[in-house]
Assembly symmetry: C2
Homo-oligomer: 183 residues x 2
């Protein structure tokens, strides 16, 4: 099964394809669609549509997994990110592909064992899991992590139970602290 | 010149077309694209793409104006709205249409003379300006207001100077109060 992970953005959109076969995962390809910041938003979104569609036709994934980012920077940033994410979802849907959504925290938890792992940690883990010769571009690494997070069932990308429990426990504590206005 | 206004949303997207000719505006058509809330987001966005494209082909606008909503309800709502907005922009752009963005406050100011006018007030003004026999659906009325806000140059939809000044003054005061943490 070929899984394409996507990390959408209004300036750059990372993508990464892996092949999941029984108990193993194999890297297929990865990259970043850079959009021209000098162009107007509509032009950028049309460009994203065209270039993502080209990748879909070329890569022929069986399923697409799109990162569902938790935006901390306020409503304006979320609206802007949402515009790119909507275009990604619609473009994949228009190609008749099944699309899944996965929250960033779950991607990090599944791939590194920590729901709050840093970008470098995620990239390093992606490189190790897929045996890549070098670190991919940040957004492409995120996209590969998104794809890997869906390959959890094959065992390779699933963190040990202890790490999972630890991460879960910490998240629950943070949640509690936040609810009490302490974090 | 035919102007199509759009009020995008992840559940319903209003649209309204007007014809601007010298000093007059004429209503062409309006409506709402309702999306099936029971379906998954990707399916809804694909549906929005198809149905909006049909409208564009049918209405043949010269320019599309899309409302740029200021989201007060937090990042999650903004992300969701952004997804529909991105699809609207890309769909119009894919048809080769020029797309303009207009903030909600400017639409309200131009059409009613008040940057914070209520929905009913906007709909009533739209009905009056276009001589409609009845109030359009809320989202369609918003979309017509968006189109009318771009027809300001024809005079019809421009509020009197005094109202404009009053609204501007009030917005500036609110801005100041907000900056001082008072509002």
């Amino acid at each position: 099964m070929r899984v394409l992970g996507i990390d959408p953005g209004s300036h750059k959109t990372g993508w990464g394809a892996i092949e999941v076969d029984g108990n193993s995962v194999r890297h297929v390809d990865n990259g970043v669609i850079f959009l021209d910041d000098d162009r107007d938003l509509t032009v950028r979104l049309v460009d994203l549509t065209h270039r993502l569609r080209d990748r879909l036709i070329e890569l022929q994934p069986d399923v697409v997994v799109v990162e569902d980012v938790f935006v901390r920077k306020g409503a304006r940033s979320a609206l802007i990110l949402g515009q790119a994410r909507g275009v990604v979802l619609a473009t994949c849907g228009m190609q008749g592909l099944p699309v899944k959504s996965v929250p960033t925290s779950q991607v990090k938890l599944r791939v590194t064992g920590h729901g709050r792992a840093g970008k470098t940690q995620v990239a390093e883990m992606v490189r190790a899991l897929l045996g890549l010769p070098e670190l991919p571009f940040e957004d492409a690494a995120d996209a590969l992590a998104v794809a890997l997070s869906m390959a959890g069932d094959v065992g390779v990308a699933t963190p040990p139970k202890q790490a999972r429990r630890r991460a879960k426990g910490r998240d629950a504590l943070l949640e509690l602290a936040r609810a009490q206005g302490k974090a």
